[in-house]
């Protein structure tokens, strides 16, 4: 039996239809590859539908300059990526390369952030983040009335934001336009490597392809072993508060506050180890709200409309893992947080490498074997 999808099979089956899988699949389809994308249903625990929507450079890559360069490369590709997606699909994804801010409350936070920024800058010359004092911050965001505790911020002009739900919608639309097959309600149950091909078992039948990309978020470990792919992962919960819509005052997104194009404020960002429990708590929501109100006191006068929790997809060192299987060549895995930030480079450089059949030297640093090497003292 098969899902009745394409005679002659596929060049690639991409397991995972979130932003990471869809971005890679989009890049493969753009390169003329015949692609099937297997996805779960609406109830899937999906980072693509719970994230904050930042294209975020300024905090990425501590301890791995290759990741910092990869992130910056994606941020540089984003404007053309967004334009390509929008003109192809007609779906506006609200991308703005507006820069990004990490607010500092009090001189202690400011000094700590400055130290961090200098540490990151020392690791790669493309970092491009500056500390700015309150007066400069006020000039940058003239519509916002910051609270008295705000002494400044770190500012990175390479950051930006988009609507992550519309990005996912646009990617799925783009896949269809390029002739790729997106198969919802078809979670991969099992993967077999047979005579050089990959056969994926799903409730909708088996899908066969010459090569395979595993990008199934936290569904990855259960599928990776059978095709000899690494899947070192950890889960981390983030909660987000959503307010009613207000007139736009904050065009620049921040690490914990951003105003969407429609005027909603999203407030984050928490980090908790709760396994795969994605529920929300008043304690954490209250703490996030209190900090947001110290940054922008007027937020205290508006209503929350909803909250949500999501589970971040992370590796042990928080940096991406890209790898090809040694025993089953043609099987690739992509595990990463920051699927929005990296969407542009996933659809370009990563898809190009995978399409070409090898990850190559640029991506060598991202192999999971880094976790097996004992660190020098």
């Amino acid at each position: 039996m098969n899902a009745g999808t394409r005679a002659g099979g596929y060049d690639f089956v991409v397991v995972g239809g979130g932003v990471v899988g869809s971005s890679i699949a989009f890049g493969l389809a753009e390169r003329g590859r015949r692609v099937a994308v297997l996805d779960e249903g609406d109830r899937a625990q999906r980072a693509a539908r719970t994230n904050f929507g930042l294209v975020w450079v300024q905090s990425k890559g501590d301890g791995m300059p290759a990741y910092m360069r990869w992130t910056r490369r994606s941020a540089d590709l984003w404007p053309a990526f967004a334009q390509r997606l929008e003109s192809l699909t007609g779906v506006g994804i609200e991308y703005r390369k507006a820069g990004g801010l990490v607010y500092c409350l009090g001189p202690v936070e400011f000094d700590a952030r400055r130290e961090k920024v200098e540490q990151l800058r020392a690791q790669a010359d493309i970092y491009g983040t500056e500390m700015i004092e309150r007066a400069a911050l006020e000039r940058l965001v003239p519509g916002a009335r910051f609270g008295p505790d705000v002494v400044g911020a770190s500012h990175c002009p390479n950051d930006g934001h988009c609507n992550p739900l519309l990005l996912l919608k646009a990617l799925h639309a783009a896949l269809a336009i390029h002739g790729a097959h997106y198969l919802p309600d078809a979670p991969a149950r099992n993967i077999v490597h047979r005579e050089g091909r990959f056969v994926v078992d799903t409730p909708r039948g088996s899908i066969e392809a010459g090569r395979l990309v595993l990008a199934a978020g936290h569904g990855t470990p259960a599928l990776a072993d059978a095709i000899d792919l690494p899947a070192p992962m950890k889960a981390e919960r983030g909660q987000i508060l959503v307010t009613e819509r207000c007139r736009p005052i904050l065009p620049i997104p921040g690490s914990g506050i951003r105003q969407t194009q429609d005027g909603t404020f999203l407030i984050g960002s928490s980090k908790e180890k709760t396994g795969f429990d994605d529920s929300t708590t008043v304690a954490v929501g209250g703490r996030m709200a209190a900090r947001a109100i110290r940054i922008l006191p007027e937020l205290g006068g508006i209503r929350l409309t909803r909250t949500w929790g999501g589970i971040r997809v992370l590796t042990p060192d928080n940096h991406p893992v890209y790898a090809e299987s040694a025993r089953c060549p043609g099987a690739f895995v992509a595990i990463c947080h920051s699927g929005i930030t990296l969407a542009a480079v996933h659809a370009a450089d990563l898809a190009e490498a995978i399409s070409g059949g090898a990850l190559g030297p640029t991506l060598e640093a991202f192999h999971a074997r880094r976790f097996h090497v004992p660190k020098a003292a």
Binding site: E244, R245, C246, R247, E298, L299
Partner: protein, 95 residues
């Protein structure tokens, strides 16, 4: 579209867009806006389209009103009080 109920002897006097309107006690602010004959009670902050109360049970957020100077109130969830001032919500509220 709707027929007004006969005016109750204990009707509540409120103000809709500056005009006095008598509404049944226990009515919602959204009902008061409808009784006053407003064809639309807000504009969408996203598209600018005119909108009006729809579900009347707190779910759809279409009935947002400025009530006693407090913006973006769900009009269907607020019970009228004597002297209440009800105005249209134009687009998104100010912060």
């Amino acid at each position: 579209m709707f027929r007004k109920p006969p005016e109750a002897p204990d009707a509540v006097l409120v103000e809709v867009e500056g005009r006095p309107v008598r509404v049944p006690p226990g009515a919602s602010a959204a009902a008061a806006a409808l009784i006053a004959g407003l064809a639309s009670t807000r504009t969408s902050p996203v598209t600018g389209e005119p909108r009006a109360p729809y579900c009347m049970m707190g779910v759809c957020f279409e009935c947002l009103l400025v009530i006693d100077d407090e913006p973006s109130q769900q009009g269907c969830m607020v019970t009228v009080r004597p002297g209440m001032r009800i105005r249209r919500q134009e687009g998104a509220r100010e912060l």
